[in-house]
Symmetry: C2
Subunit: 241 residues, 2 copies
């Protein structure tokens, strides 16, 4: 298996960075090939803009997704995006590894999503969810946070359940492009716990990564249950792909 880890933490000594290092060794020891994009170390540019295209389909008016589609066809994506897209297409497993910032990814990682998950390759038209361009791949979120597990335990918890809080990332992004989304790994309360507790989290993360084939992906809609206008089919009549 080929695994790609997208890592985004501003402190190389952080616990989150240790999670990234552990994932590398654990996956390699299991015989997998691993590539890492350490976005802070790469000084990754997260800002989607007209500069992302070496040629423009419409130089007078930027429709970002349309230019992505054209740039994929003509091979005119900016080199930093093309390099990341190559890694993404190579990967069978994609891990986004980050500190939870505002219940989401840090901006530098959001900009990897915005720029690399290009229309035309990863999705487009009616190719999303189970018909997405990256179908066959698996993905997961692994993140550190200050909050405790009970704060996201269910809808009565202070921040509600994890699933809605992570929905834009897991369903709106990773599942949207067709990847099967494995359960997230949350390293909770990290700034407030002692070294043995941190080591315990790393042990759990290693176990989790070693058992990936046993976990069930997130359930997401099948487009077969929707009509061509993406209205739910009440009679479950299947629409041909």
């Amino acid at each position: 298996m080929n695994a790609l880890i997208i890592h985004a933490h501003p402190e190389p000594q952080s616990f989150c960075s240790a999670m990234k290092d552990l994932a590398i060794t654990t996956l390699q020891q299991a015989g997998h090939r691993v590539q890492v994009s350490d976005l802070y170390a790469m000084n990754w540019n997260p800002v989607a803009s007209a500069a992302d295209f070496q040629a423009r389909s419409n130089p007078d008016y930027l429709v970002y997704a349309l230019e992505q589609r054209e740039a994929v066809k003509t091979g005119s994506l900016a080199p930093d995006i093309a390099a990341e897209l190559d890694k993404l297409l190579w990967a069978d497993l994609v891990i986004l590894n980050f500190p939870l910032f505002w219940c989401s990814v840090p901006a530098i990682l959001k900009g990897w999503i915005d720029r690399v998950l290009v229309s035309g390759t990863c999705y487009g038209g009616l190719r999303f969810y189970d018909r997405g361009g990256l179908a066959g791949k698996r993905a997961l979120l692994s993140f550190s946070l200050g909050g405790q597990a009970h704060m996201f335990a269910d809808e009565d918890a202070v921040h509600g359940d994890w699933e809605p809080m992570l929905r834009p990332l897991q369903r709106g992004t990773l599942a949207y492009v067709g990847m099967r989304v494995l359960p997230p790994f949350a390293a909770c309360h990290v700034p407030y716990i002692d070294q043995p507790a941190r080591a315990g989290i790393l042990d759990r993360y290693r176990d989790y990564l070693q058992g990936l084939d046993q976990v069930e992906p997130l359930t997401v809609p099948s487009l077969a249950d929707f009509d061509r206008q993406l209205q739910p089919l009440t009679n479950k009549e299947q629409v041909p792909a």
Copy 2:
């Protein structure tokens, strides 16, 4: 009223930019003062990093939120962050105006959130939700997207309901820092509709902005319903602030 519009679209001629312009004139005509942060025009840096602090509490190990807290105390936030924070504290109403990228904000706007909503001023300790540092202010999301309204109509829709999809932004961010979150304004299907339909959306947006005092904010938890460990109080015994 003082209104701050944070605008983040890479194309100045976009419909989303027209929404920003309409909001400026509508709010000004109603007698309000308006400031705009046009993040693309400002070439805003979205990447949270050690460079955000002119002095460091711990120069050897970056804990971003802790450095924010110290920098607020000592006045050593980077000037671009301090300028945005001043605008935020001045505002009674904050509008985030953007194209929906991956069911969230573009990275450049995520980086405004990451860098400007500083710990110590906006939240910290048990100051969040109804005890958040920005209590008394109101906020709303106004965004454009390619998708249609029925795709987010309810949990049976192809992308589920808006509320969970927007939860990290509305609850995890805006409500977290204490702002009352007004209903989002979604301009749907924008790339696919004709000029009269676009004008109709702008008319609805004008009406919405003129009637802000009549709309109910999102319901979010009150910390009075949780104990000091943020476990839900089953007996609803109030904890003093």
